[in-house]
Subunit: 504 residues, 2 copies
């Protein structure tokens, strides 16, 4: 029994292993934080989790098995970076600026980040050598210590906003570094090509859940929010809002960690888990889509991917979202962290208008002011998600409470993408978590051995992990501190040389 | 309809105003975070909220009306301060150390804290001039910026642990300063005499709820955890676990903010409130009591109040807890923040043993190793409290989500001590919140005017607010930075004088 995307992949595996499963879903649809809206005017649109890429082998294998194809997000042309009211076109991973120190600074920050995340064991981040130090710092403190230039500080903040839909001052450095590590590296999580945003599913990501629903058929009970979970040595008894009860040998709870609070447990959860579930708030995100007559950005040599780093503009990131055949030209926008909170009480019409107004500045054309369609999902308003994309950790939580996340409790096993070790927070993490929890149940029932619970996933061949081509410049470029030392040293040598020549 | 201590004071006021009320209580007892255990061997003991003092006029008025008397906590003799394995006796508010800089540093930190908290409007802390700056800092960052000596850093950390049962690196500076402000000042919240710990209730604090229960009689429904709250323009429909439903014109929800997640709302809560309730975790606290044959500490001239600042010892604060007539000699101990999390999976016997072992060191006698009784409550294990004493805010939450806390939603009004403006987190705050929410309902029903909702409480004469006698030394003593400048300046003058005399 389970709820959400991870729950369905868990139930599918148990069902295939011959177990008798029931899936209890709170909403009137399957899919959880993936949500494909459909309408004749735009065909379909993912207003929730949507992207997949290399190293996300579990979701790629599962979707392929279910007959769902991926396509590559359009990448022809330049990226955009928007800051202080002005737009820069660039290629490569990180934006370029007029001030040469800014690029050095950004390059150094991410190079350093990708170096130190390697110290973190993905299945036990609390065991990292510097876990105590990092968990008692916010990401903002790290940014202030590592970055010299305003441009770099702003861009790293935008990077945090984009990846965890929170402000850097709100989250633990240890948790954030672990999160990046679980997604491989800062490049892998950020990039479109060869990164987390490389592909989308033809027809939308919610189809994965819908096809599993079809397989499991009436074993899936929609609109069955669970209010009570009782267990004894023999079984688990689950009660839904309408009073219906279900009895099972084992229960996989597959919801975002903070939603455990929605259920009353008997016996009550262990103390640390009882406190953990109050300490893992979901991020703040509104995802929207604006459709236009034509893909005017493509005509200008812009691929549609942009990062916005001023901390003021409504949308923090955009991605091209034309259908694979070029139809329904659209731009996906992410309103994140503080910006999402600021516009929570606006109407969708107001958010559409502000988005288009911003796009006119970003893409440099009034064509952006003439949308032909708009859709959005404010995930902060969803009681059965609590927010998007994932649960977040403020300082101190990971080292003090993190270990509780996957620890079985009696006949309960815990899934949900937050319990994954790879691509936690993503669809791929949901599949890892769901399948691992399913195998924990199979192990508890004596069907498989303990060492079969965790399984390595072979690479999905059609979407291979290509090593990033990091240039020599990126590798050897000094940090701003280093550059200043070099300049000072060079200056001293020049002055000394001049002085020596004068004295001669 | 309501749950908890604040809920009962709310229901009492509405009942007296002639409304028809029903109180739904999740537990099999009233009292919420006040919990008086009874046993012939020790008569009674408060293992939850217990202390009252000057300026807590609402709870003093209410308890007096219900015929419950207070008594003063024993204060004859010295305080103890325990740090780095050694004990110091002291009198006055803050501990004294061999290193004179340590006292200067502590005195300066709290003097500065009491100065800056005055900038914070108690009903709208997000409007403080420095709200943005303070809400994006942890209290630890402030400690590191303000304190020079290790002793002061440790003591301020112990002060944070003791007042909010969290580590300074876990909480927002703005929230913490507001919390101290809501309790008047650092001295008022910390002190026994003339402070928050001046008095206790004869017979235990839970009697207050029990006597209101008696007045309301079978209008109070125990063991009725609420799982669903539906409302329309006309009424509110509440469903409990056992399927019983109650219909009302208005509903006062009086639970700790994170426990709103326990209930499924229709329509769902507004987006910011839906996210707020995931961002207000309860503190971590185990409160215990050890009884002895004799009050051996009193015989040694020690009053039993101690602060422990090494960050290692199990108990962070102790208070004498002999009954007013001197019977049942006992020591109340608070296990807080990281220490509470460390010993969560110990048995009560193990915690008793470790507590007594520490008391032998603290009080300097093996008599502490021979307890005649032990009681405790691990509040982290309580599903219907989530922790103790109060909900806490990590960086960013107060400025982004704080405004939602008291905002009515349709026919719902919100109580719980966390929504109070004075002594939030305390019994007094619970009464403020409960009565204010009750008057919000009366206003909505046209029984009172809007300006009658918030009412000033006259001083409770038997327990007056005495201004603190802050010595001239405390007022004018320099900070460590100031002292060092003074010393440097004096040194320069001395050297200059000597040099001048030599040259003459």
């Amino acid at each position: 029994m389970s709820i959400s995307f991870a729950g369905l992949s868990s139930a599918k595996l148990m069902h295939e292993a011959g177990l008798d499963v029931i899936v209890l879903e709170a909403r009137n649809r399957v899919g959880g934080r993936t949500f494909t809206k459909r309408d004749p005017s735009y065909n379909y649109v993912d207003v929730g989790g949507s992207y997949v890429g290399p190293t996300q082998d579990k979701i790629l294998r599962l979707s392929n098995e279910l007959g769902i194809k991926t396509y590559k997000v359009y990448m022809g042309g330049s990226y955009l970076h928007f800051s202080k009211g002005s737009v820069t076109r660039f290629t490569g991973t990180w934006p370029k600026f007029l001030n040469p120190f800014a690029w050095l600074d950004i390059n150094n920050a991410f190079r350093y980040m990708d170096k130190i995340i390697k110290e973190i064991p993905i299945a036990a981040p609390w065991d990292a050598p510097r876990a105590e130090e990092w968990d008692h710092m916010t990401v903002q403190q790290w940014i202030d210590a590592v970055c010299w230039t305003k441009a770099a500080k702003e861009f790293v903040r935008a990077f945090v906003n984009a990846n965890v839909t929170m402000e850097p001052s709100e989250v633990s450095l240890l948790w954030f570094l672990w999160y990046i590590r679980s997604c491989d590296s800062s490049r892998r999580i950020w990039e479109v090509e060869n990164g987390g945003q490389e592909r989308k599913f033809q027809g939308g990501s919610m189809q994965i859940s819908e096809r599993i629903h079809k397989i499991l058929n009436d074993r899936v009970k929609l609109e069955h929010p669970v209010s009570q979970i009782k267990q004894d040595g023999e079984s688990v008894m689950v009660t839904c809002h309408d009073g219906t009860t279900f009895k099972a040998k084992y229960l996989v709870v597959a919801v975002a960690p903070s939603l455990y609070l929605k259920m009353h447990f008997e016996p009550t959860l262990p103390p640390l888990r009882n406190q953990l579930i109050q300490r893992v708030p979901m991020g703040s995100c509104i995802k929207n889509e604006v459709w236009y007559e034509k893909a005017f950005w493509r005509q200008k040599g812009i691929n549609g991917f942009s990062s916005v780093a001023d901390g003021i503009s409504l949308v923090g990131n955009t991605v091209d979202d034309c259908k694979p055949d070029g139809s329904h030209p659209g731009i996906t926008g992410f309103i994140m962290a503080d910006r999402a909170r600021d516009v929570c009480d606006w109407t969708p019409e107001e958010r559409c208008k502000a988005t288009c107004k911003f796009y006119a500045k970003l893409f440099g054309t009034d064509e952006a002011l003439k949308p032909v369609g708009y859709e959005e999902c404010n995930w902060m308003a969803e009681a059965y998600s609590g927010g998007c994309y994932t649960s977040t950790y403020s300082p101190g939580v990971m080292t003090r409470f993190g270990k509780e996340l996957r620890k079985p409790f009696g006949r309960l096993r815990f899934a949900g993408t937050e319990t994954a070790t790879k691509w936690s927070g993503y669809m791929d993490g949901a599949v890892e978590a769901g399948e691992r929890a399913a195998r924990e149940v199979l192990f508890a029932m004596g069907r498989i051995a303990e060492n079969e619970v965790w399984q390595e996933e072979p690479e999905f061949e059609e979407c291979p992990d290509v090593p990033f081509n990091i240039s020599i410049t990126e590798r050897v470029a000094p940090s701003v501190g280093g550059a200043l030392k070099l300049i000072t040293f060079t200056g001293v040598v020049v002055i000394a040389t001049i002085a020596y020549q004068r004295l001669r």
